[in-house]
Amino acid sequence: MSEHIAPTRTPAFEARLKKRYAAEKRFRSLGLAAIVFSVAVLVYLLGTMTLNGIGGFQRAELEVPIDFTQAGLSADPATMDSPQALQSLQGQGLPEVVQYFAQESLGEAGAEELGAQAWRDVAQAIIDDPSIVRGQETFWLPASADLASGYSGEGSQDLQALAAELDAAGKIDKNFDAGFFSRADATNPQQVGIWGALKGSMLTMIVTLLLAFPIGVLAALYLEEYAPKNRWTDLIELSINNLAAVPSIIFGLLGLAVFLTLFPNLRSAPVIGGMTLALMTMPVIVIAGRNAIKAVPPSIRDGALAVGASPVQVVFHHVLPLALPGILTGTIIGMARALGETAPLLMIGMRAFVASPPDGFTSPATVLPMQIFLWSDEIDRGFVERTSAAIIVLLLFLLLMNGLAIYLRNKFEKKW
């Protein structure tokens, strides 16, 4: 055997080896490229949304200095506390006062383009601090939607010219619009806010969580720990796995046919939306829960059983606490998906114009993604930026939730 040269030591072998290494390199770079591409798409998506949306947090406002001493308004602090304060100010002619000073400051054409509801901002300022009616105050009041688009270089030529003129005089500016976070839907892009939709989303998510979490966790425990292996449990398993993949719009059809038939007066209500989304989220929690429960090593169950714990005690004393981080991670991810869901809600009446934030689980509401969908369909072009701004808010929530899930996963990653 000594003269035999192993085939793995021939020059031919080594030549082939070079090629194999080249192939290795190519393959590896392909893998890297796939990842780089995917991440790049994500960055591009988030980037464009952010760039488009930043402007949505601002609105074009006009400078209107008001000299209240000339206006002769009375703002008795007592009346200013009552709910009728606004009416009182309107009755005293505040709108006209604002209009007058607007003409002084902006000229005829400019004042025309002051939003018809601009005086309300002034009224609110007076209600907040009645003492200002004894002095002079400079207000930045929202411009009309048309002037606002003129200011961003769109819309009619006349208004673009007017905007340029006002800009030159420093009387129009884009300011941060804090009200965007406290108002609800409106028809005028200058007046819209996302609080209504956000609150609707929160109410909906609370319902979803309250239903999906306990049911999901209990079902996961049952299936993983107690269920005998028979046709029934196979059926349960199949339906859960299937529900996790059923198109979300089908859940909308279910909500329409079942929930809205049972509770027709709760159309558009967060409680119905929440129930529909809970059915969608529950299987996600069950599956995540089962995986987390499966990851608890059997030796721990054995240990507990061997000191005489009953199966229920084993689960509630040992398995559940250990699986909880995993279950929570799954729940957060499921909830994040529900938070971004639109399609099923189209079917159950949440595609609605709701101009005031919902005040309970049963009052009509819309949700953030639905608000985005509705705004994306708006005629007025001022909505384009507002839509992107709402998207940013939604994405922030989702990133937060995902981040929390990742944090939980890393923190509690158990090695037994």
């Binding site: 005998p228 090593p297 054995d302 240990g303 059983l305 061997a306 000191v307 005489g308 004393h317 250990l322």
Partner: protein, 263 residues
């Protein structure tokens, strides 16, 4: 009965006794008509090649087999003359009376204190904190672990070394005051020093509890046990005093196994 049982065992009284016990996993017979008396005062060792059914049989003794859906037991197993497979038998209580220690140490991922206190708590064996503290201390002392851990009872049980973990598991079993302790290869995951400690501990516990130990090390069986049962292919081949089995086996298969012909 196919088993060869040495004659000189009558002096012992049986804590547990199995009669014609067969165990199936689905259709597969893993234990074939085993009959044995587990004496009250001695350490009994089960030896035999891998897969011969030692663990399976051990787990029938406190019905841990119930957790395997496919497992099915035939024949009778008595604890103090009471059939543990009779209907209406309370498995929870049975397992409190017949404790078990596993191959891989499996402390709960809780504090050392909680590990020991868990059994007494769920069985209501201790009232109030003081009594519980006493039980914990006593069990840890018996398991020879007290000195090593008394200052860190709140540390996690999983933070101990492998040998300490195994002693913790023994202490956990002791804490509910069992009558029988089953041990399934308790040292096979441990290093030699930890193994020696456990063997010492078994020696000390001997006489207080009926102890059954499965081991793949014949030397260990020879060192710690007074009775040895040799299993092969699901059957119990031979059962007798440890000294007799190792010096004077009656069966050829036993002879071959202990001299290393196979396994």
């Amino acid at each position: 009965m196919v088993t060869v049982v040495h004659e000189n065992l009558e002096d012992t009284d049986a804590k547990m006794s199995a009669r014609d016990v067969s165990v199936y996993y689905g259709d597969k017979k893993a234990i074939d008509e085993v009959s044995i008396d587990i004496p009250t005062r001695y350490v009994t060792a089960f030896i035999g090649p891998s897969g011969c059914g030692k663990s399976t049989f051990l787990r029938t003794l406190n019905r841990m087999n119930d957790t395997i859906p496919s497992a099915r037991v035939e024949g009778d197993i008595m604890l103090d003359g009471e059939d543990i497979y009779k209907s209406g038998m309370d498995v929870v209580q049975l397992r409190a009376r017949v404790g078990m220690v596993f191959q891989k140490p499996n402390p709960f991922p809780k504090s050392i204190y909680e590990n020991i206190a868990y059994g007494p708590k769920i069985h209501g064996l201790a009232e109030g904190k003081d009594e519980l503290d006493a039980v914990v201390e006593k069990s840890l002392r018996r398991a020879g672990l007290w000195e090593e851990v008394k200052d860190r009872l709140q540390d996690s049980g999983t933070a101990l070394s492998g040998g300490q973990q195994q002693r913790l598991c023994i202490a956990r079993a002791i804490a509910v005051d069992p009558e029988v302790i089953l041990m399934d290869e308790p040292c096979s995951a441990l290093d030699p020093i930890a193994t020696a400690k456990i063997e010492e501990l078994i020696d000390e516990l001997n006489g207080r509890y009926a102890i059954v130990i499965v081991t793949h090390s014949m030397q260990q069986a020879a060192r710690v046990s007074q009775r040895t049962a040799f299993f092969h292919l699901g059957k119990m081949v031979e059962y007798g005093r440890t000294s007799d089995i190792f010096t004077n086996p009656l069966e050829q298969r036993t002879q071959d196994y202990i001299t290393g012909r196979y396994g």
